[in-house]
């Protein structure tokens, strides 16, 4: 068996609005359109990722929030209905997915070797969180690639952003080791927005784009600063300022996905491809790709 590898990592935010705007058959609510800059960014990214022919998609989602350990799915098939508890009028999505259980178990084991508390979720009644579903749909709406879903373990961040980040970087290393041992080609999805302050109301027509803008200019500037570092291939510097970014921009990356992914990618030094940036109900979102094969040289 040849050595497995991570072929790409994607900052893959999960606003349900993007799925709603697209009107896929799995989603019950219907829209006129909406959030095209991000949806078209995802279309570009999707082409690039699927060209890599990955064997497995791994997603780290803030909406599978755990407080005792890092959890992975340990059941092979899940079918169900994901209803967003915050935007149920936009997202009621029927899913049917396959889990790469051997890789999930391998990540849990590798995590333990790194001193992390890991758990395998074996309850077949478990409902997959909407963040995981959204990011996966936007990258692979055909759902024909097995997945690994990893929870976001919040409790280390109770101590400090730095403590939380250290754990996520360990989890990233454990993930890489497990993928390499599996012989598979893997794509990592960090299911996080950037700045993350929502408006607390929405227009009568949710897809009315005349109401859409970033919540606060300061948060926008921070988002741009982070994207600029990513575009310059300065992932190490991005990780260094991540704790401050989290505080200054109320960034959702506090859930740990970005730190996990950049660590698993061995902190890339090549330029990331920013496919697009836009706001969703005030939050800042970017679709960013680190392609390990092209190293950012081509789309």
């Amino acid at each position: 068996m040849s050595k497995g590898k991570i072929v790409a990592g994607v900052l893959a935010p999960h606003p349900p609005h993007l799925v709603y705007g697209e009107n896929p058959p799995q989603n019950e609510p219907r829209s006129e359109c909406g959030w095209e800059n991000l949806r078209w960014a995802y279309e570009r990214c999707r082409k690039s990722i699927l060209k890599l022919k990955p064997d497995v998609l791994l997603v780290h989602s803030p909406h599978w929030m755990t407080v005792v350990g890092h959890h992975v799915l340990g059941v092979e098939c899940f079918q169900g209905l994901s209803v967003d508890p915050i935007f149920p009028h936009l997202f009621r999505y029927s899913y049917d997915l396959k889990v790469d259980v051997p890789l999930s178990l391998a990540i849990a084991e590798a995590g333990k070797k790194h001193g992390l508390l890991t758990k395998v979720m074996k309850n077949p009644d478990f409902r997959i969180d909407y963040g995981t579903i959204c990011s996966l749909h936007l990258i692979n709406p055909a759902w024909d690639i097995p997945i690994v879903s990893i929870s976001s373990n919040n409790s280390p961040y109770y101590f400090s952003n730095e403590v939380g980040q250290e754990q996520m970087e360990k989890l990233g290393r454990a993930t890489r080791e497990a993928i390499e041992a599996s012989g598979k080609r893997a794509v990592l999805l960090a299911s996080n927005s950037m700045s993350h302050r929502h408006f607390t109301s929405e227009p009568e027509i949710p897809e009315d784009m005349s109401h859409e803008h970033i919540y606060h200019h300061g948060q926008y500037l921070w988002d741009m600063k982070m994207l600029s570092l990513m575009k310059q291939g300065k992932a190490k510097e991005a990780l260094a300022v991540l704790p401050e970014f989290i505080d200054m921009a109320s960034a959702e990356v506090k859930a740990g996905a970005l730190a996990w992914m950049l660590s698993a990618l061995e902190t890339p030094t090549y330029p990331a491809i920013v496919h697009g940036y836009g706001s969703v109900i005030g939050t800042g979102n970017a679709v960013v790709e680190w392609n390990q094969e092209t190293k950012g040289l081509e789309l």
């Binding site: 005792v68 959890h71 209803v83 508890p85 149920p88 009028h89 508390l117 074996k122």
Partner: protein, 431 residues
Amino acid sequence: MNPIVKALIVPGLPQVLLAPEKNPGWHKLRQAMEAARAEIESTQADLILYCSTQWLSVLGYTFQADPAPEWTHVDHNFHELGSMKYKFKIDAAFAAAYAAEVKKDGPHTMLANYRGFPVDTGTIVAQKILNPNNRLPAAMISCNMYAEKNETIEIGRAGLRALEKTGKKAIVVLVSSLSSRFFIKEIDPKEDHISSAKDDEWNRKICELLGDGRLEDVAQVARDFGREANGDMGFKGIWWLDGLCGESNDFSGKLLGYEAIYGTGGAVVTLTPKSAIKSKAMVSEAKAPAPAAGEKHIIEASQAPEPVGAYPHARREGEFLFLSGVGPRARGKKEIPGVTLDKDGNIAAYDVEVQTRSVIENVKMILEASGSSLDQVVDVQAYLTNMKADFPTFNKIYAEYFSKIQATRTTIEVGALPTPIAVELKVVARG
């Protein structure tokens, strides 16, 4: 009729429902919640209203509006404890009434009536233990993650108004931990304890206050508690409960249990009102809308005597209401209570007791029309046209109304007042 029959605070972690046998403390909390259920069942409530800190919203407030939500739920963190199958009976009409009251105050509202809409673990745990078999229809409101103290209290107040308007009596339940610092390593359930001694001390202080029925006092210290003891969602849920329960300490409190759940603090408390709880809107339907910070607001009270010049009855500035001078006249009438005029319009006789009572009743009317009340008065200036003759009587009647309020007062004799009256009050009150 008291719209709040009983208020409860209970933890919402699944150990209490699914695994009480694994730890003596979890078992005690389960028993405490069952004792609370017995208290509930001894009352004549019409519904049970929940707010859980595990059901977060960002778009204002969401209300469960599916009349019969049904699902098999698995907790995202403690999934190994098993599944929670539920089918609840919801008072959707009350949900709509509550949402309408919240909307009046400005926040966005949403009635969620969708198949598969997730009920959170906390609400499920509480409902399955406190209200098994759906003995009471339930109502459920989300906890807005961005709302601070003022807004959260307003959301509670709106719930009280909704109960008054629908004529329903409720058991109201806050589903929230106290301190919320979990162990970050796997523990043997038998060795569970509060993860920090500091958190434990804070929790015990909160428990002591709640056991004494001092809900308003707990609401006052909630921000400190939330910061110091990592309170569950900053312990903001207590503000909702406080707004709903009239913002007072007038309760019989009972601490039925306090134990650790995976390092967090869980308490079971019941609060039974000692006196009637009424919203400000109940006191006066004509509540003036609360102005935004810095905004001036003119108040005309439709029942109060007409002003005799170009001035309003009251004006709101910040947190305070400033009332124009108020006399004893009655709206729409030529005759002035306590004043007898001769045929030329001169004062033939006057009764300072009747006038004083009428003046104070007019003040009360204007305050209530402004959304305030007499007990919110902070300062009074009293004008008498004959200090020597009238002060003793004025002072006696004044004391009947104000002795418990303890507003500051200044009394001045004046040569005349604009109409043939002997008493006028100038009042400042909290809005």
